[in-house]
């Protein structure tokens, strides 16, 4: 505490975070920092910043858009200022409003979080003009590194390995095609000002280049207010490994080891770990030293990240430098024991680094899963929205840290990235950290929005991931036909069926338990033996269930499964023991008509449990004919309509673009499922649409 106080120089810091950034935190530093932070306390990065500031005796001011006015960080900060309505361009990107907030509150420093203004050189300049300290690198460094074209030139000069490509701004789609031809396909088209996968497209031929150019420039314009694009050679099947650097204002710089971020979907990270299984000490040192020399070349100060692509031969190429604190920084904190926010504030105030390179350890292993409000069954994750009707983080487990800025009742809106939290687990070994991650994902309760836990849970147990054989193409290679959820083995299937049957019987028995004095006595249908029929994925199983107290014996196809548990029917979690093994399931749905949805091994499975009689009689029930979906185009996610390319009466070919939906700043082209005539159009540009809303009908 004393050490923290000594570093205090600011009295008031403004936290110019956007919503997503708020979902970061540097709260519980597992093991090594537990004396500083209460390990059971839940804080998000901004909250982590607030806490770090509090420990340093600094007052904090949170800025927020009106939809975030009741967010956790707003309540925790000493003061809060609303900077505008929900769309980011009117709030978190609204520099004037933020500058006003600075003046109004008299803040002496601004911590920009990540994203949005964190890498905006204009913003840093304006702060400097007002004499307000920007907690982050100097304007010069932001400018140099924020521009991908310039950063590449500087990197080359600093003898950092770079990717072959076109060092300039691409004028139009035709020039893009020409340049692509010169470099040779595949190429990557990306926003000059961008980051985080936005405005980034890979192209394998001329046609894709034209289309990619159009989408990328639109996305770049809407996300960064800058539509300049550049093109470079796309390194096929690489790993994405980044080096965390820390530099002070006195020319000292350190590399804090690497983070392996290869598991990505649509160029956005999903699972990260530190350290990487792939790097040997020599490569690590070589990468670290290049990263530090780049930082020194731009006179970098504060925390930053140098991203590299690493090919299978361990050749590495400089990708870009992020001049901000990254979403995945907690795993570096876990293995090095450094509090990066604390370091950033110290550096901003002008203190020297206390550590030397030889002081930076790799202690244990940390894994981070990004938990998104996304449907992983659609292109590994299309955004979903909703209200978190139930939300419970697995913080009861040791060595688990959850960085989130949301709580039960929070709305996940269409306006920002759909990130729910960063879930970090730590272990002495990678195996231990992964085991812990399994447990944490199983105990994470999220209701009200579709989330990607099924995908995360599958990735971390996949043999290729476990063996460390990964690349940025991991997801499309492992799931070429898209993610389908966990594939049950015969044994797992039995466990699932048995659990559903036992749960059904427990619920049936409870529904006969009436309390109090009864005028007409109850005649319970006392039974110790049940014959049930359980449906799962169109498979139908006859089960025999017998019960002794809380223990159920379920007979499935001649095999016996023993299931026992507390059978608390109100709890979101269903901890049970199946054949002596402990399992954490979640019951997502249980209806009177026997429908039971269980989350098992991350994936949710729909079952239907019926008595033998009800199952027998069900065969007479008429089949309801589902809607023909090939002639109907529905919105796959909530968002807004950017453009509609057809009108009623138009003939469209299969695969032709019909309209473009933008959600969470991603543009998605909606195409015709068959060749037909357009019957009716139910949306127009500018409309806000919900998931499943009818867009266009074909004949």
């Amino acid at each position: 505490m004393a050490a923290y106080r000594s570093a205090a120089g600011f009295q008031r810091v403004l936290l110019a975070f956007k919503h997503v950034c708020l979902k970061q935190r540097c709260g519980v530093i597992i093991c090594r920092y537990s004396t500083v932070y209460d390990p059971n306390e839940k804080v998000s990065l901004i909250i982590g910043v607030i806490k770090t500031c509090k420990k340093m005796g600094i007052k904090t001011v949170a800025v927020h858009s009106d939809v975030d006015s009741s967010a956790v960080h707003v309540k925790m900060a000493d003061e809060a200022v609303c900077v505008g309505p929900a769309p980011t361009s009117k709030s978190y990107l609204n520099m004037d409003a933020i500058m006003n907030a600075v003046k109004q509150t008299g803040a002496q420093a601004v911590h920009p979080g990540y994203g949005f203004l964190s890498e905006n050189k204009e913003f840093a300049k304006r702060l400097a003009a007002e004499g307000v300290t920007f907690i982050g690198p100097d304007t010069h460094a932001i400018q140099a590194m924020g521009d991908k074209i310039e950063s590449k030139l500087i990197a080359k000069a600093a003898k950092v390995n770079t990717i072959p490509g076109f060092d300039g701004v691409v004028k139009d789609a035709e020039e893009a095609v020409k340049i692509a031809g010169e470099i040779g396909y595949p190429v990557m088209i990306k926003a000059s000002a961008g980051g985080g996968g936005k405005g980034m497209r890979i192209s394998w031929n001329d046609e894709e280049t034209r289309e990619g150019f159009r989408f990328s420039s639109q996305e770049a314009a809407s996300s960064f207010g800058d539509d300049r694009l550049l093109i470079e050679k796309f390194i096929d099947n690489p790993r994405h490994i980044e080096i965390q650097v820390l530099a002070d204002k006195h020319g000292n710089a350190l590399w804090l080891n690497e983070r392996e971020c290869s598991i990505q979907r649509r160029n956005q990270k999903v699972v990260e770990e530190a350290p990487s299984t792939f790097l040997d000490p020599d490569t690590r040192r070589a990468m670290g030293e290049q990263a530090v020399s780049l930082a020194k070349a731009v006179k970098y100060s504060s925390a930053g990240t140098v991203e590299f692509l690493v090919d299978s031969q361990k050749n590495f190429y400089f990708l870009e430098m992020n001049t901000r604190l990254q979403v995945e920084h907690p795993i570096t904190e876990c293995i090095t024991g450094l509090d990066l926010v604390h370091q950033m504030i110290r550096i901003a105030k002008g203190y020297k680094l206390q550590q030397k390179q030889s002081d930076i350890p790799i202690n244990g292993w940390a894994i981070e899963s990004r938990v998104y409000a996304e449907d992983p069954y659609k292109s590994f994750g299309l955004p979903s929205i909703g209200r978190l009707s139930q939300y419970q983080e697995p913080l009861n487990l040791p060595n688990v840290r959850v960085d989130s800025g949301i709580q039960e009742g929070s709305d996940i809106s269409i306006y920002y990235d759909p990130m729910i939290s960063k879930l970090v687990t730590y272990g002495k070994t990678r195996e231990e950290a992964l085991k812990k991650m399994e447990e944490a994902l199983d105990n994470y309760v999220i209701r009200g929005v579709t989330h990607n836990i099924p995908l995360l849970r599958e990735i971390i147990v996949h043999p290729r991931f476990v063996s460390g054989d990964i690349s940025t193409k991991f997801l499309p290679e492992v799931y070429p036909d898209g993610f389908k959820g966990h594939m049950l083995t015969a044994g797992e299937r039995r466990e699932l069926l048995a659990t559903a049957a036992a749960l059904y019987v427990a619920a049936q028995l409870r529904s006969q338990k009436f309390l109090g004095d009864l005028r007409v006595s109850i005649v319970p249908a006392e039974s110790r033996q049940w014959e049930l029929c359980v449906e799962l994925d169109k498979g139908v199983h006859m089960l025999g269930v017998s019960r002794a107290g809380n223990n159920y014996t379920v007979e499935i196809d001649g095999e016996k499964v023993e299931v026992s548990g507390e059978w608390n029917l109100a709890s979101a979690l269903l901890p049970i023991t199946i054949n002596g093994k402990h399992r954490n399931l979640q019951c997502l749905l249980r209806t009177a008509a026997g429908e039971i949805t269980l989350q098992y091994l991350g994936t949710s499975f729909k079952l239907r449990v019926l008595s033998k009689l009800a199952a027998y009689l069900s065969k007479h029930m008429p089949e309801k004919i589902p809607e023909d979906t090939s002639s109907i185009l529905r919105s796959p996610m909530p968002g807004s309509v950017v453009a509609v390319s057809v009108k009623p009466g138009d003939n469209v070919a299969e695969g032709q673009e019909i309209c473009v939906i933008e959600a969470m700043k991603m543009q998605n082209s909606m195409t015709a499922a068959k060749t037909a005539k357009v019957k009716s159009v139910h949306c127009k540009a500018g409309d806000t649409v919900g998931e499943g809303d009818l867009l266009v009908e074909l004949e």
Binding site: R510, S511, V520, P524, A525, L613, A614
Partner: protein, 550 residues
């Protein structure tokens, strides 16, 4: 003679051995009779006849008609009862009753079906007693004969005496035309009993096939009418008659299908996918109801902690008072296990009503729905709410009301439709109710609608306001236009009005709300209040019956 008798006794014994249907008592009884009377050698034995009749009763209209019923996606009358009731709990009455019609060749043996076109009796649902009838479409299309009606009346009478609910499974083509006025008399006998039972024992109708003409009035008189999608219809006159009288072309489904009655007419309270789904849901629904008006609301074992805090409720009401939110988010959060059996979920959606449990005890929920028409009260929502409140009051079910109401819906359509008369029904129902009444004002409680929604003034037992509550005659804009008519600086006046009235204090300082509570503590508070109020006794003045504005 003696030999023959012996022979017969032997035969009876053999039959008894084979048939498990007949108990030993019956056996002894009939054996004695045979001995005493001594039937002739050619006469089929009584035992055989019993057996034959039972078999005939069990197969109803025969295998062909059963197959046809199945083909339509419908179960038979007996299959339905088997599914509705606990295993082996059904006790059948009047299996041997036959129709008494002798016209149009009806007296012929092949036109007589033991039990006629309805199966009646009593049984158990989750151990609790219930009387049931199930119309058998395979016998004369389930048409109602004098005998059919008499069977139904018998179980209804007994249900009243015992104090247990009646569930009717309707699947009938209508009156037995061959019987003429006898069939009509039968309907009236049932109607009378529906009315006499009303408010004494819960009555539930599940429409599982056609139900047309006068027959519709029995379900209409019962407390709840449920339907099966695609296979059930309710109408006074069918499409053919409609065509000939009004020249309208309309299908059965459009005229009286489940969708029509659960969304447009408000005749049915809920619809289910198919027979199996409907019967399983009915079992679930039955658990919410007390057996009669002499019984308290049932309490079941509850796993949800009664003092559970609901943090999500602190953020559910938006800051802008014009912004909508989903009242169901509040309702689900507060209830045991988020379990809510909504009544009329697709009709007059600006009010939400339904059954749930709080700490295991059945409660009735009434809530304005800001998501639909701003949660205003109109004709349909008033009637929907009023009928539900009266059911709860009749059967000792505490009522919990969540208020966010901007007022009654203005306009000629509403005024001409009689919103004054219909709105009065909801007011009346809340005012006369003597069950425990707990009210939570979540946001707006404006104008007369504030009074109506179970206010303190209508004998609300515990009335809470959330910090976001605004109890006032109207919204700021409208009020300022009246108070400061013609004056400048309307915006300033509006701000003053908001400062004065757009908060819970004006109501709280007068004691019109008992407390201003943190939303997340709502469940805890209600559970505690319900325990205290369980022994509430309140009576209205003696009257023959009240005169609700119909």
């Amino acid at each position: 003679m003696v030999d023959i008798s012996t022979d017969y006794i032997y035969q009876v014994r053999l039959t008894t051995h084979i048939s498990a249907v007949i108990g030993s008592l019956t056996h002894a009884l009939f054996t004695n009779r045979v001995n005493a009377r001594g039937y002739s050698v050619n006469h089929p034995s009584v035992q055989e006849r019993i057996e034959k009749k039972r078999q005939a009763a069990l197969t109803g209209g025969g295998q062909l008609r059963i197959a046809a019923q199945h083909k339509r996606g419908k179960l038979t009358a007996r299959e339905r009862l088997e599914l509705l009731l606990d295993p082996d709990s059904f006790v059948e009455y009047d299996m041997f009753v036959e129709h008494r019609c002798s016209d149009f060749g009806m007296e012929a043996d092949h036109n007589k079906y033991p039990g006629d076109s309805v199966v009646t009796g009593q049984g158990r649902i989750n151990g609790r007693l219930v009387y049931v009838f199930s119309q058998d479409f395979t016998v004369f299309g389930g048409s109602l004969s004098g005998a059919h009606a008499q069977k139904i009346c018998k179980i209804m009478d007994q249900a009243m005496m015992v104090g247990a609910p009646v569930i009717g499974l309707n699947d009938s083509g209508g009156a037995r035309i061959q019987e003429g006025v006898e069939s009509l008399a039968g309907y009236a006998d049932i109607f009378l009993r529906n009315v006499m039972s009303s408010g004494v024992v819960p009555q539930i109708s599940l429409i599982m096939g056609p139900c047309a003409g006068g027959a519709v009035y029995s379900p209409a008189l019962t407390d709840f009418t449920f339907m099966v999608k695609d296979t059930s219809y309710l109408f006074i006159t069918g499409p053919d008659v409609v065509k000939s009288v009004t020249n309208e072309d309309v299908s059965q489904e459009e005229l009286g299908g489940a969708k029509t009655h659960t969304t447009v007419s408000g005749v049915a309270h809920r619809a289910f996918e198919n027979d199996v789904d409907a019967l399983l849901n009915l079992r679930d629904f039955f658990n919410f109801l007390p057996l009669s008006n002499k019984d308290p609301a049932p309490v079941t074992e509850c796993h949800d902690p009664r003092d559970r805090l609901v943090p999500g409720l602190d953020t559910v009401v938006p800051f802008e008072s014009t912004k909508a939110y989903d009242m169901l988010d509040i309702v689900h959060g507060v209830l045991d296990e988020r379990e809510f059996f909504e009544i009329m979920p697709n009709y007059a959606k600006n009010i939400v009503v339904g059954f749930a449990r709080m700490n295991g005890r059945t409660v009735g929920i009434v809530g304005n729905q800001p998501k639909v028409a701003s949660g205003c009260l109109d004709i349909n929502s008033s009637v929907k709410g009023a009928r539900f409140v009266r059911f709860c009051d009749a059967f000792n079910i505490p009522i919990i009301t969540f208020v966010d109401v901007p007022g009654f819906l203005p306009g000629t359509a509403q005024e001409y439709g009689g919103i004054i008369r219909h709105g009065a029904k909801l007011l009346y129902a809340f005012a006369e109710a003597t069950v425990p009444k707990i009210t939570v004002i979540t946001r707006k409680a404006y104008g007369g609608a504030y009074d109506v929604m179970s206010s303190k003034h209508l004998r609300g037992d515990v009335n809470y306001a959330w910090p976001s509550a605004e109890v006032a005659v109207m919204g700021a804009k409208g009020a300022v236009q009246i108070i400061f008519r013609g004056k400048e600086n309307q915006a300033e006046a509006e701000a003053e009005y908001v400062e004065k009235f757009a908060n819970p204090f004006p109501a709280a300082v007068r004691g019109f709300v008992d407390d201003i509570i943190q939303p997340s503590t709502t469940r805890k508070r209600i559970c505690r209040d319900l325990e205290v109020l369980a022994s509430k006794k309140q009576t209205n003045p003696w009257k023959k019956h009240a005169n609700i504005p119909l």
